[in-house]
Amino acid sequence: MSEGNFTLDGEDIPFQEGQTIMQAAMAAGKYIPHLCYHPEFKPHGSCKLCTVRVNGRATASCTQRAASGAVVESNTHAINDERRALLQMLFVEGNHFCPSCEKSGNCQLQATAYELGMMSPHYDHFFPNRPVDASHPEYLLDFNRCILCSLCIRASRDVDGKNVFALSGRGIKTRLIVNAKSGRLADTNFSEADKAAHVCPVGVILKKRKGFAQPIGGRTFDLNPISATPHPTIKEG
């Protein structure tokens, strides 16, 4: 397998043929902010948080193949400004009340916002009305927090072989649905053992009756920032 090097914010990063910029950066211990990318799944390229400049051109690092000699910029003021704006839009499109969310401290959206120094949502909140699906005896879906990253869809389809989740609608109307006529999780073949039960980066797919059992101070991102532990769910899964 042939190898090469590119520079990321001025540092040499080695890569192997076929690797994306994201993969090579992660292998070298470098953090590029991201939400819809997960090392165990095919990249989706939808959140755009991982956008970098390659030889001056903006592109998603989770889908862009690494190329020898490329000059990649990621941690710059201008790029981080754009990332903060994307995060702010995600915050206002859903209902994210961190202080009373059980995923707080373990949430990749919140941790990424801290990492990038997002201080306020800035835009007006949409306050969408999205009822919780509590039909399943062991799991709860709180759609209020869905960022449409499609990780659960990929996990269910590619790992569990089930297709429990799907995106429906277009544009701003896009939403997550489950594969049952009733629209209820209880009527799908979803199970606790599924990979899809453990990949949500935010607080949508939740094990019931476990919220807040972990004390403040002992949660994933209390201990380390997300740049040091980008994928806490890998351990779990």
Binding site: S100, S135, G211, P215, I216
Partner: protein, 498 residues
């Protein structure tokens, strides 16, 4: 009840004075007074816009989220809501008896909250009125004035409060919006280091709390005419008391006494609170008026909070506070005290009790235990009651089989005291305002009466420091005659209601 001052006969002929603070968080409090040409008082009403939206908002949410979510209700006693909701959810998850570690950690958290809230109320909000006088120079009558003239008093107030906040931080994980208490128990115990850090200061805290009781007692003794009669009226009282009838602010059974101190009911399991209490609605107020069903709406209203609790219990289970309670009872000559300013005295007795309870708990190794949670047979309905700093706090929920909340009813301390506060304001208005030109100092008398109850609208002042306020004087046609405003920088003269 001074009924004739609740509603005037010919309101259209009267001038209206409104003491109207603008608050943001918990509620909006306003006093309106109707006066005739001779400044005779015809109608006085305290309006508090209660925040009831929460009861709707929480429907459809999973039950385990509620103890954390309810803290958004109130920036001042979030821990009380956190614990009352947890107690209701204990019932839902079938945890009728917690592990010793969980129960004691929750008590520690609660007494930390009592300590910090009582210290804040007395030192920051009330001591300026009590030390300088109700109509003293308004530029001095604040915590900054106290700090200048009585620096030791102000310093102790700050440190007492800080200690209470430290307890909350260690038990709940954070000073505000903690998560320590969960349905069926707690999510963390104390480490040895955390326990030792608190132990180091607790003896000083007990000593300062004793001094605080002595200070209010002196104030009371120096001016019994004022302290015993200011805004005084007779009322029933209600609180929970511990198993043997001792003061217990975390758990117990409901007890009520009439104005003479005679038991009205005792040993009532609060799961059945709705058989005991109903809430009346009045067209002029958003806040409901709770009353004892057995006595009816006219006779059945009652007081809650320190003045009710210290007189409702048979004893206080910690030695120093018990000595103070006895002295208080002796002072009253064996009959109940009804003076609103007695709240300050009893509040400080409770602060001493909280400090002593914290001291005892910190010597109990159960706080370091690891057995944190229990569950049992699942229930669909639960009530949690706690004695919050301001009085009895009731949380009532129904939770469906899918674990979502379908019904929520809250009766907060300030609501229990609604009628009592209205009575106090009317008495003060009649005694001090009748026939006189209104001044800031006179209007402050009204606020002093309201503030004695430490209603939740004072919360906003806690958060903001100084509350912007507007007072309008209107004539019979509603024409604006005069207007006083005070900005949040306290630059202009005016009045405060906190």
């Amino acid at each position: 009840m001074i009924e004739n001052l609740e509603t005037a006969n010919n309101p259209e002929k009267l001038r209206r004075v409104a003491i109207d603070p603008i608050s943001r968080v918990e509620g909006h409090g306003k006093v309106t007074i109707l006066l005739d040409e001779q400044n005779k008082v015809h109608q006085v009403r305290l309006h508090i816009v209660e925040f009831r939206g929460f009861e709707k908002f929480i429907q459809g949410r999973p039950y385990w989220e509620v103890p954390v979510m309810v803290q958004r209700l109130c920036g001042i006693c979030p821990v009380s809501h956190h614990l009352a909701a947890s107690k209701a959810m204990d019932i839902i998850v079938g945890a009728r008896h917690l592990t010793p570690t969980a129960e004691k950690l929750r008590r520690l958290m609660h007494y930390g909250q009592i300590l910090q809230s009582h210290a804040l109320h007395f030192f920051h909000l009330s001591s300026p009125d009590l030390l300088f006088g109700f109509d003293s120079d308004v530029s001095q009558r604040n915590i900054v004035g106290v700090a200048a003239k009585y620096p030791e008093v102000a310093k102790k107030g700050v440190l007492l409060r800080k200690f209470g906040q430290e307890i909350i931080r260690h038990t709940a994980g954070k000073r505000v919006h903690g998560t320590g208490s969960v349905p069926g128990g707690v999510n963390k115990s104390l480490t040895v280091a955390e326990r030792d850090a608190l132990l180091k200061d607790i003896y000083q805290i007990v000593a300062w709390s004793r001094e605080a009781v002595a200070m209010v007692k002196d104030l009371h003794n120096q001016n019994p005419g004022l302290y015993n009669s200011f805004g005084t009226f007779r009322a029933n009282m209600m609180s929970i008391v511990g198993n043997e009838g001792g003061l217990d602010l975390y758990h117990g059974k409901l007890r009520g006494r009439d104005e003479n101190g005679k038991l009205l009911f005792d040993g009532v399991d609060y799961q059945g609170y709705s058989d005991l209490i109903a809430e009346a609605v009045k067209p002029w107020s958003y806040m409901k008026f709770p009353y004892l069903k057995s006595l009816g709406e006219k006779q059945g209203w009652y007081r809650v909070g320190p003045l009710a609790r210290v007189q409702n219990c048979d004893f206080i289970p910690t030695p120093l506070a018990e000595i103070e309670r006895r002295e208080f009872v002796d002072y009253c000559g064996g009959t109940p005290m009804h003076a609103p300013l007695g709240y300050h005295w009893t509040r400080m007795i409770e602060m001493l009790f909280a400090a002593e309870m914290i001291k005892d708990l910190l010597h109990d190794d159960d706080l370091l235990g690891s057995d944190l949670m229990v569950t049992g047979p699942r229930e669909l309905e639960g009530v949690g009651v706690i004695e919050a700093p301001r009085g009895t706090l009731i949380h009532h929920y129904r939770v469906d089989e899918d674990d979502l909340v379908t019904m929520c009813n809250l009766i907060v301390s300030t609501t229990h005291n609604n009628q009592a506060m209205n009575e106090a304001v009317r008495h003060v208005a009649k005694r001090y305002l009748n026939g006189r030109e209104l001044t800031e100092g006179l209007l402050n008398h009204i606020e002093v009466a309201v503030r004695a109850y430490d209603p939740c609208l004072s919360c906003a002042t806690h958060a903001l420091g100084k509350m912007p306020l507007e007072v309008e004087l209107l004539d019979a046609e509603g024409m604006l005659l005069d207007r006083m405003t005070r900005g949040s920088d306290e630059s202009t003269s005016g009045c405060r209601i906190t």
